[in-house]
Symmetry: C2
Subunit: 129 residues, 2 copies
């Protein structure tokens, strides 16, 4: 059992959840949970959200198979946002993209953290004894 | 000039912004922008938000000096969330923590991506010729 008493749901009973890939650090999506979706996520170990458009709970990947296994869950300093670190099967985005954030508005068209990881991996392999 | 026509602000004229550290991949905070905060961010290159509690625009770090320089800005697939990759000066959180997400509710008390980066950096240094 986790203590969710510090968690503040908004006037609609929802809390935003930032979803981050555990292996690449890439931010995959932003979704929303109500209390029941959070409880289902904790109980099953797989991400469940509340769909604001369909007005119901859904298990991520229930239809597509692109499930998200919960690795860690963090609460922010003022208790109104969650950060979930997940193991993503397939793509997070319904468009087929790995992440929902594939449209660059400004600056480098790179997800810096991910690029750093791949660059470091390449350097390590180059230096392998 | 960037095209923000695809961006959907909510009924309060706000859009949530996920803020990620460009060097470590760590998710630092979630904040909100109205159109003016977004324009100020693009114009100045430094993150500006709309405070829902104080009902006004604020430049991140204006008082503390802990500014956030914008590196890249992404829009999600349904146009209602932004992801900003930033160069963070000092701490992002008002508590003095680097990130606002320092409270672990469930799972490993680790930010996996960050840990991978530091582990890789250590391995690279160990293997340095």
């Amino acid at each position: 059992m986790i203590d969710i008493s510090a968690l503040k749901f908004d006037q609609n009973g929802l809390v935003p959840v930032i979803v981050q890939d555990s292996s690449t650090g890439e931010v995959l999506m932003l979704a929303y949970m109500n209390k029941e979706a959070l409880e289902l996520t904790i109980q099953t170990g797989y991400m469940h959200y509340f769909s604001r458009s369909r007005n119901k709970i859904w298990k991520k990947g229930e239809t597509s198979g692109n499930v998200q296994k919960l690795k860690s869950l963090f609460l922010d300093c003022d208790g109104d946002t969650l950060l979930a670190i997940v193991e993503q099967t397939g793509s997070a985005c319904h468009t087929g993209n790995k992440t929902c954030f594939f449209t660059a508005l400004e600056g480098d068209k790179k997800k810096i953290a991910t690029d750093i990881i791949f660059e470091l991996m390449k350097t390590i392999n180059d230096r392998k004894r």
